[in-house]
């Protein structure tokens, strides 16, 4: 045993072994992407991250989609004892259970169904066929036993036993076939998803179903917009209200049209009802330039209130109160940042895409983080930054309150990242990555040509970074170790391991040799 390994072993011996799970996309229903139970990785040791294993899976990419962020259960009761398992979902309607210690597949399921009558257009990256939603995992009343809820491309939800992948209930219809559902979320036995882009001619709306309802009544709310395409679907606040950005569209509340906004819907009396919404005052500009509100919010507590942050391709962040998003007229945020990027007001390759993150420092300081694509706005300044940002970065802000007024105060901006993706926070470390994806949709000589083959050909490779959560300083970079890129995927972190999946259907597990739990 080397000295360092001995060191880690001693640390592990002294550290409490709290279970760190990652049961849903974004880490929890509020989508904070904060792994609160990480004890292995820290600011001092992440510089030693290595690829512990990488696993080639037989998932077949559809358009640009491939693998989704894995879900992690720290202790699953298996016939041969307790195992830590990663559940990896693939666009090809596959689910894999992976022994994270060995880096091997324990079981695999493939959802099979007749080809749906309707599907997206060939080469359209917006509307891939297959399983498009990251599953969600629920504990059961039996310790060590968990249920996976996963939705196949036919729109049916499967309830699988994590230990063996067996169906533990009859699959039930939730969404439309090839309807492009986004990450499932689970709150008080109610499963939520969102749909977008009208894929296969299907409606764009929030969906809910109670998994314990014998009738499996599907409840929906349709905001009349171009699509609810927040990367991690809806975030759910403490009242059970599901908040989802509505994507491109108009705002006409008299006609119940809430495009380019953020809506909150809750199940009441077996119906999914609109509870509240927020609409930026410049929604018409967002609509005109296709600068969609499409960022899944992160919801958190701060000074006795439940707040949330969201954003758009325009590249502003909004701070909102879940009890009254936008105030009386639904258009006044608690705070709105200046433009952080996207001076050009471009609909592609610029702006905030995906989701956000939030964590609380031990002294009570509340942080929020956003990724963005493209060059930083020349007028946006942070107290700390790390060189020119031309391809994207992560920005960290503090939430502050004075005399009842809330604000988002920029703290740091990371180094340049090639299409920075939503970060994950764990034990004082920010894990972030540049996806390496080619996000260009329009060209001088081709006009609008958003075709998967063209973008795949011009994509490069992802790079994983670890940053100091207080300063943004780079602590680790994977350099060119990751060989492919990804599209609309994400990170998962638990028990000393950081997971990232790539387009070539490879799942990478980064960690510290000998240290991961």
């Amino acid at each position: 045993m080397t000295t360092s390994k001995l060191c880690f072993a001693l640390i592990l011996a002294a550290a409490p072994l709290a279970a760190a799970d990652w049961l849903t996309d974004g880490g929890n229903p509020k989508r904070t992407a904060w792994q609160q139970n990480e004890t292995v990785l820290n600011k001092d040791n992440v510089k030693n991250l290595k690829i512990l294993w990488k696993l080639q899976l037989d998932n077949v990419p559809h358009q640009m989609h491939s693998l989704f962020p894995p879900l992690i259960i720290e202790a699953v009761k298996m016939p041969d004892g307790m195992k830590q398992i990663a559940i990896e979902a693939g666009i090809d309607d596959k689910i894999y259970a992976i022994d994270v210690v060995a880096g091997t597949v324990l079981w695999k399921r493939h959802f099979e169904y007749p080809p749906p009558e309707r599907s997206g257009e060939p080469e359209d990256p917006l509307c891939p066929t297959g399983q498009t939603a990251t599953p969600v995992i629920a504990p059961t009343d039996t310790p060590g036993k968990y249920t996976i809820y996963a939705m196949g491309g036919d729109g049916k939800v499967h309830s699988l036993n994590v230990a063996d992948g067996e169906e533990i209930a009859t699959p039930f219809q939730f969404g439309y076939p090839n309807g492009k559902s986004y990450a499932l979320n689970l709150w008080d036995d109610t499963l939520f998803t969102t749909t977008s882009q009208g894929c296969a001619g299907n409606p764009n709306q929030i969906w809910a179903v109670n998994v314990k309802d014998p009738e499996k009544k599907v409840m929906t709310y349709n905001p009349g917009s171009g699509g609810l395409w927040g990367r991690t679907g809806a975030a759910i606040d403490s009242s059970g209200t599901a908040w989802a950005p509505t994507g491109d569209g108009f705002y006409d509340p008299a006609k119940k049209i809430y495009g380019n906004g953020l809506i909150g819907a809750r199940v009441e009396d077996r119906e999914l009802k609109l509870i509240d919404y927020f609409e930026p005052t410049n929604w018409a500009w967002l609509q005109k330039r296709d600068l969609d509100m499409q960022v899944t919010p992160a919801i958190f507590s701060f000074k006795g209130r439940e707040l949330m942050v969201t954003g758009s391709k325009e590249c502003r962040m909004y701070l909102l109160d879940t009890k009254s998003a936008g105030g009386e007229n639904h258009q006044i945020a608690l705070d709105r940042t200046p433009l952080m990027c996207n001076e050009e007001a471009d609909f592609q390759s610029a702006g905030i895409w995906g989701s956000m993150a939030s964590w609380e420092q031990s002294d009570g300081t509340r942080w929020v983080l956003t990724p963005f694509w493209g060059p930083v706005h020349p007028k946006f300044k942070t107290p700390v930054s790390y060189g020119p940002v031309t391809h994207g970065a992560v920005v960290a802000l503090k939430v502050e309150e004075a005399n009842g007024a809330f604000r988002l105060k920029p703290a740091w901006m990371s180094r340049d990242m090639n299409q920075a993706e939503p970060p994950v926070v764990a034990n004082g470390v920010i894990f972030a990555y540049g996806s390496g994806e080619n996000t260009r949709q329009a060209y001088k000589d081709k006009g609008l040509a958003d075709f998967s083959p063209l973008r795949i050909k011009n994509s490069t490779h992802a790079v994983l970074y670890a940053l100091d959560s207080l300063t943004g300083k780079e602590l680790y970079s994977s350099g060119d170790q990751i060989k492919s890129w990804n599209h609309f995927s994400g990170l998962s972190v638990a028990n000393g391991r950081v997971y990232i999946a790539t387009y070539d259907s490879v799942l990478y597990c980064f960690g510290l040799e000998g240290a991961a739990q």
Partner: protein, 477 residues
């Protein structure tokens, strides 16, 4: 995030706003000046208009038409994002592309040498491929292939002419050549605005520089485009916009005082020559009473309206005059540049005339809006009288100095008084002429040989100091 797949078009059906183009002078080939689809401007919000764009261009020549009025691409999905672009050409032969929302130059392109003293100082308004063909196709008419450039997400060309007479087809995304320049006009003519209709591009010129007057056309749908022309010598009066086009593509052009020549589309073969009964009742100032015709639909039948040298308006059926008005002004004044037309929600057709000078006291209108001493917009309805259509004066606007042909949208008429010391933009109620808006003293130079463009909540024009203005509905950015 939008692409032109079926799926996304379905999604867009509920979410994507159609952005409107202004592809040529007066907005269409009929020269109506009527923007039919603007959803941002309403009669009610005209009073709230603001100065939303002001950009002065670096240019070597001040004076009339030192900068053309813009053509506007309402939505270009460019490699730098969704753009609304206004294109203006300056007298030095530089075409400018301006991001109309952000008031930034998107690109500029010099199209060649400054012309001779004869042609210098007069830029030609560029043209876009119009969004749709208008009107009905002639019975049995052969459908012509469309030229690319107006489909959702397509590479869109903008056409411009340089002082050497070359026609340039440029990529609206970056100003690069989409094809080699074509021989189009004689060098150093003073061309009218370019117009594309049914796949053919046209420009005309009054007789100038000791040369000939003419109209030139290139069929852009054929593999080997070449220019055709119809020319004349002698007195010439083509109006501010050049030709107007009938539903069947017939070209109507004022080729001289009291002369309207119709030509076949694409190959410019002469059809009819209508001589208006001019009068020696007074002498108009230079350039007055030489109007670009306007094509008006009346219950499905097409009529042409133009002016005679003495300032009367004539309504024609394409072969002969049908009815006429009194002269609109007193001697010395007249109608300037062109006419505009509109059909209201009740289906009634209107014609608007920009008049310079004092109005003819014998011209009776239903409503006036104050004393007119310098000029006004005079509105007419097209009514049936004795079994034939006639122009009936409906209202006269407030006094305004040297107005250009107005534009109409959403029940409002926008008129630009161009006279010194500075131009003023007015918004008027299209039914009554009542003033809804005045730009006051916000404009700091006069306009001359300019025109109005309207699209997506903005009304544009240029002034003699080389400045592009837009007034419109506030868009929070």
């Amino acid at each position: 995030m939008r692409i032109y797949t079926l799926a996304v078009l379905i999604a867009c059906a509920g979410a994507c706003e159609a952005q409107i183009d202004w592809p040529s002078f007066a907005g269409d080939a009929q020269r109506s000046g009527w923007e039919k689809s603007d959803t941002r401007i309403t009669r009610e919000n005209v009073k709230d208009f603001e100065l939303v764009l002001k950009r002065r261009f670096v240019y070597p020549h001040a004076g009339p038409r030192s900068l053309t009025p813009p053509v506007v691409v309402g939505l270009l999905i460019s490699y730098r994002g969704f753009k609304e672009l206004a294109f203006v050409e300056d007298a030095s032969g530089t075409l400018w592309s301006v991001d109309a929302d952000l008031n930034r130059v998107f690109w500029k392109r010099s199209l060649g040498p400054v012309g001779s003293s004869c042609g210098a100082g007069i830029a030609s308004m560029p043209a876009l491929v119009p969004a749709v063909r208008f009107g009905k196709r002639a019975p049995g008419g052969k459908r012509r292939p469309a030229i690319p450039g107006n489909g959702f997400g397509e590479v869109r060309p903008v056409f411009a002419v340089s002082n050497d007479g070359k026609l340039h087809k440029l990529n609206t995304s970056d100003g690069s050549d989409l094809s080699a320049p074509l021989d189009f006009l004689p060098a150093n003519v003073k061309p009218s605005p370019l117009t594309i209709h049914d796949g053919t591009i046209y420009a005309s010129s009054a007789v100038s520089c000791g040369g000939v007057g003419g109209i030139w056309a290139i069929d852009l749908t054929v593999p080997d485009p070449h220019v055709v022309s119809f020319t004349w010598k002698g007195p010439s009066a083509t109006g501010l916009g050049g030709p107007a086009f009938g539903n069947d593509g017939t070209v109507y052009l004022a080729t001289g005082p009291n002369t309207i020549q119709s030509l076949t589309p694409n190959d410019l073969q002469p059809k009819e020559r209508i001589t208006l009964p001019g009068s020696a009742s007074g002498k108009a100032a230079a350039g007055l009473n030489a109007t670009t015709p306007v094509v008006v639909d009346l219950n499905g039948q097409e009529f042409i309206v133009s002016s005679s040298s003495d300032g009367r308006l004539f309504l024609m059926d394409g072969k002969s005059t049908v009815s006429e008005t009194l002269p609109l002004s007193t001697p010395g004044g007249g109608i300037w540049g062109g006419l505009s037309s509109w059909k209201d929600s009740a289906g009634k057709s209107w014609v608007f005339a920009p008049v310079w000078g004092k109005l003819n006291p014998d011209l009776k209108s239903g409503k006036t809006n104050g004393t007119v001493t310098n000029g006004a917009i005079v509105a007419f309805t097209v009514e049936e009288e004795n079994g034939k259509p006639a122009l009936t004066a409906a209202w006269v606007s407030r006094d305004m100095r040297s107005p250009v042909p107005p534009v109409i949208t959403s029940g409002a008429v926008f008129a630009l008084a161009t006279g010194s010391p500075a131009a003023t933009l007015y918004g008027l109620d299209a039914q009554t002429g009542e003033e809804l808006y005045s730009s006051g003293k916000q404009i700091t130079a006069p306009g001359e040989l300019t025109g109005l463009s309207v699209s997506n909540g903005r009304v544009y024009f240029t002034t003699t100091d080389g400045t592009l203005y837009a007034f419109g509905v506030h868009l929070e950015i």
